[in-house]
């Protein structure tokens, strides 16, 4: 039974002193709800409601329920006891003022609670009547996901860098003391190169300038120089070429042998060798 049905059931019996025989508290959400339903039968603004009359209605209702041996929740009985007390206070002249709230104040507080519950129910209805998302109004049915582009940002500190470098350099230096394989320019290679040199010109050519063109890696300079010099001396000894150097550490020149100057060149070369 809904409160509305109860209302009508009760209304038909209004005017008789006998309480309604159709009693059902199932439909009520507690004593306040029952009181509110009863209050509505007074058909007046809740602000002007007669609490005394309401208390009577409630007590009659409870009494009827008891006669029918209906089991009532404790809440309802507590309210009944309180209303009976309130009723007695309202009927009797106020005896000791200042001792707790007066009967009038208690009645007003009850009326306030009833009005508050009623108002709340009304706004609750209005709230639920609002267009609700996914019931009345709808968001985009097929949202387009935001594509995530993950970009890696690498981190490394200068300390990481330096310590990695130092550690691994030190480690490899200590653990792998080894002799570097030496790249050497063979005498044969040097001789062939020199023969090509003196073959192209009968004038003096600087050996070092010529040799530079063969030296790709600086590390090879020494071996190229040494092999070339040795080959040059060999060529001079064979009388194929002559070399010339003005002073110690000065550039060495070389040319195809052309008679007279040979001995001087050889002499110079020997001196510097």
């Amino acid at each position: 039974m809904t409160p509305e049905e109860f209302d009508t059931a009760l209304e038909t019996d209004r005017g008789t002193t006998e309480p309604a025989m159709i009693v059902d508290v199932e439909g009520f959400e507690g004593p306040l709800d029952l009181l509110l339903a009863l209050a509505r039968t007074q058909k007046v603004d809740l602000a002007k409601i007669s609490i005394l009359a309401l208390a009577d209605q409630y007590l009659n209702f409870i009494e009827a329920a008891r006669q029918l041996r209906l089991e009532l929740a404790a809440d309802y009985l507590v309210m009944a006891a309180w209303l009976a007390y309130l009723k007695s206070r309202l009927l009797l002249p106020e005896s000791a003022p200042g001792e707790g709230p007066s009967a009038e104040e208690m009645a007003l507080a009850l009326a306030h609670r009833l009005r508050r519950l009623e108002a709340l129910r009304e706004v609750a209805t209005r709230l639920m009547d609002r267009p609700q998302l996914a019931r009345d109004v709808f968001a985009r049915g097929a949202p387009e996901p935001i594509a995530e582009i993950r970009q890696s940002e690498w981190t490394a500190t200068l300390y990481d860098l330096l310590s990695a470098y130092a550690t691994q350099r030190a480690k490899s230096a200590l653990s792998r003391v080894r002799f570097k394989k030496r790249t050497v320019w063979s005498l044969a290679e040097a001789r062939a190169a020199l023969e090509r040199l003196i073959g192209t010109s009968s004038d003096w050519s600087r050996i070092d300038a010529f040799l530079i063109s063969f030296v790709v890696e600086p590390a090879l300079a020494a071996t190229v120089m040494a092999s070339s010099f040795a080959s040059a001396l060999e060529l001079v000894r064979e009388g194929v070429a002559e070399i010339h150097q003005k002073e110690s550490f000065a550039p060495i020149y070389m040319r195809k042998r052309v008679g007279m100057n040979a001995s001087a060149a050889t002499h110079d070369a020997q001196e510097n060798g």
Partner: protein
């Protein structure tokens, strides 16, 4: 009869300009961008997020206002819910679209009332909810509401027993299309009638609901374990 005034107006008729009818003041590109972002998003977006995605120098507030006005009469409206913006179908088109949805879970009367009490009286404790309803809350009511994601435990009342206080969430605002709890229907009437006061003595300031996550003076933060007790499950999505 309205008065009819006659006026003489000199119109400079510039032929050249009149010929290729000038396009209606070109629509600013930022409206396109905003439109795309908000249409694509599955969730409401706040202004800061939008600003971050838009080119520098775009006045997001103004652009949103312009876009909202543009869409006001359309089948899809731009609405502000909480501090966020989203496109939604127009309120009056529910009839057209409701067929589309599976019957949404119906809340019990107790749950609806409890939700309303939390919305209008927040922050509010379970005892206060029971006081207003005049009935002991059924065990499942708060649970059901927590599961909707519309309410959340927000703190603890500085009172004996330190009861948990409840408030509404951003999802609540989104679901009911509210910009803020101050826009709750009937709030003004309730306030005017002094019905938000609870049982406070007269002359006490009228409380106004607030879902401001800042705690009130009479609230303590939740205890560390409170949120792990299943009190606030992740906002459930309705499918």
């Amino acid at each position: 009869m309205p008065s009819v005034a006659k006026k003489l107006v000199i119109v400079q008729n510039n032929d050249a300009a009149a010929e290729p009818s000038a396009p209606v003041a070109a629509r600013p590109e930022e409206l396109r961008l905003l439109e795309a972002l908000l249409f694509a998003a599955g969730q409401p977006l706040d202004e800061a997020t939008l600003a971050r995605r838009l080119p520098d120098g775009v006045n997001v507030k103004e652009a949103l206002a312009a876009l909202k006005a543009e869409y006001a009469t359309r089948g899809v409206n731009l609405v502000k819910v909480g501090k966020k913006w989203m496109f939604r179908t127009a309120d009056d088109l529910a009839w057209l679209l409701t067929k589309e949805t599976v019957e949404t879970r119906k809340l019990s009367r107790a749950a609806i009332e409890t939700l309303a009490i939390i919305a209008y009286h927040q922050p509010v404790t379970r005892a206060e909810i029971e006081e207003i309803r005049g009935v002991v809350a059924a065990a499942g009511t708060l649970d059901v509401l927590l599961r909707t994601g519309w309410i959340r435990p927000r703190g603890r009342r500085k009172a004996p027993g330190r009861p948990i206080t409840y408030g509404t969430t951003e999802e609540f605002l989104t679901h009911f299309g509210l910009e803020e709890v101050g826009d709750l229907p009937g709030l003004e009437e309730l306030k005017g009638a002094g019905l938000l006061e609870g049982n406070l003595p007269a002359g006490f300031a009228v409380p106004v609901p607030s879902d401001d996550s800042a705690l009130r003076d009479d609230e303590d933060p939740l205890d560390p374990g409170d949120l792990d007790l299943g009190l606030a499950p992740p906002p459930s999505r309705e499918s």
